[in-house]
Amino acid sequence: MLGLLFGGFFAIASSVVALQEGNRLWWVELEVEGPARALRIEAGEDGVTKLEGGVERGEAFRRTVPVPFSSPLGASGLSVGVLPRVVWSGEGEARLLGWSADQPAAILTRTHRALLARPRPVPGPARPRASTGALLALLALTGLSAGLRKRPLAAGVVCGVGALVLWGASARPPDAPETVRVLEAGMGPRALEVTAARNVLALPTQTDRLEVDPPGVVLSIALDPHRAGSVRVRAEGALLRALRAADPPVLTPTKNDWQDMAQVWTRSGEGAWRHHDAWPRGEALPSASDETEQDPSPPGWLASGLAPGRGVLLGRCDAPRGSLWLRLSGWGE
């Protein structure tokens, strides 16, 4: 009996630690007295946190700031590890007072364990495309060089210069890298918002946890200590996911008390998917359309990894910051 208890305790403790060890966002207490410039908190091979903007003479503050630390033992392992190092230039003073007593990742692991176990969204890479102007220029260049085909030297110059111009016009990264937001929910009182992007991610306010794929990659966090919600994480070639606790959507088949949804899919316990029209706020769920080949299927990444035998509702809301997807299990139960 005692062995069983120990075994159970060990299994729970291991799963909690396993969930926490993937977190790369731990918080430290920082105290600064100006003047100080180029403030950095270095977490060795794990990465660095850079505080943008200097601290003026006479200015002093104490902040809780994130560092991209890896803690294989989770929050309990922070106290036995080495504290990151703060460096700066200027006559002022900066020091780390220690790890913050409240680590949001540890709390989230305790309260949202079931939702944390769900598969994570994988945003597609933002693929740059040729602009309409560049394509028109391409057509014009081709027409011009075809007109000059009797004069090969002139045609060669036109084509060569055109190639350079089009290279210059297209060789820049896309303006808006793709960010995917998913609200994970069950029929309980908790929900989890996951925001995922590649390479660069602006952390939503009150982010509790940061996951990085591949896990050991070096992270760079930049934030403005004078402005809340200004934290950006960068890791070239990595997939970044910020997780935070969120309010669950208030949805029943008879009323949408959450927000307008542009598309909705439901799955019965038997596993059949049905597509519904848009579901505006305040209204009842529209009846499912008869299954036709024209009906859009739910995105594979959103519909996969769901527990079999349970009702599911998937939805897409068009928001100013891009689409927000909803993955709600236990629908209709």
């Binding site: 693929r127 495309r129 394509l135 391409l138 090969p152 055109g162 990264p173």
Partner: protein
């Protein structure tokens, strides 16, 4: 426009199609995980080494100039997506030399009938045929199950695609091929014959059939 002009226009269309489709479909249709510069180069690479006839100087090397603006645009997009400049430079430099090399070889092989014939065989066996087999090996298992149950499409004009779509293992067992399934590749053959023979009659100064 002569036959070669038409061929260059087709190659230009094939090489620029991925770029146009990505933009016109607003990113819905994208060729994920592959270099656009490579897609642009593929048709031009095929054109560069195309066997020439003795009477028709194809001037392939000169026609490759038309590839430069598309290649500049495609390489810029590859760069914007994260490809390193050094790798791009090596790839584009090597591919351009290959194109010019094949074009020069095809041009040189025009000098005698024997050399032209030998080059034709070498090119056929060395360039398009391995590509067709490689494509079929990757393609057939993925599509065999659902190949033959639909109305023959435009693509069935191509004998290679028709053979793949209507092979016995891809069809329902025991069913004979309907006329509508047999028609497209023969229509394709008729169209090819009309184009080739019509052009050759016109070049010889004869009235078209």
């Amino acid at each position: 426009m002569n036959l070669f002009g038409l061929l260059v226009a087709v190659v230009w269309g094939m090489s620029s199609a991925p770029l146009f489709l990505e933009t016109l479909t607003d990113g819905e249709l994208v060729i994920q995980g592959s270099s656009r510069a490579a897609w642009v180069l593929l048709p031009w690479m095929a054109l560069a080494g195309l066997p020439h006839t003795n009477t028709q100087r194809l001037a392939s090397g000169r026609s490759l100039l038309f590839a430069l603006p598309i290649l500049g645009l495609a390489a810029g997009l590859d760069f914007a997506e994260g490809e390193s400049p050094a790798r791009l430079a090596w790839f584009l430099g090597g591919a351009s030399l290959l194109c010019l090399g094949w074009a020069a070889l095809a041009d040189r092989a025009r000098s005698t009938g024997a050399m032209r014939s030998r080059y034709g065989w070498v090119w056929l066996l060395g360039v398009p045929l391995p590509l067709v087999y490689l494509t079929a090996f990757a393609w057939a298992p993925a599509h065999a199950a659902s190949a033959a149950d639909s109305w023959p499409s435009f693509w069935s004009l191509n004998p290679l695609i028709w053979v793949h779509r209507h092979a016995p293992l891809a069809s329902p067992p025991g069913g004979a091929l309907a006329l509508r399934e047999l028609l497209p590749p023969f229509l394709g053959l008729f169209l090819a014959g009309a184009i080739v023979l019509g052009f050759s009659r016109r070049e010889r100064g004869l009235p078209p059939c």
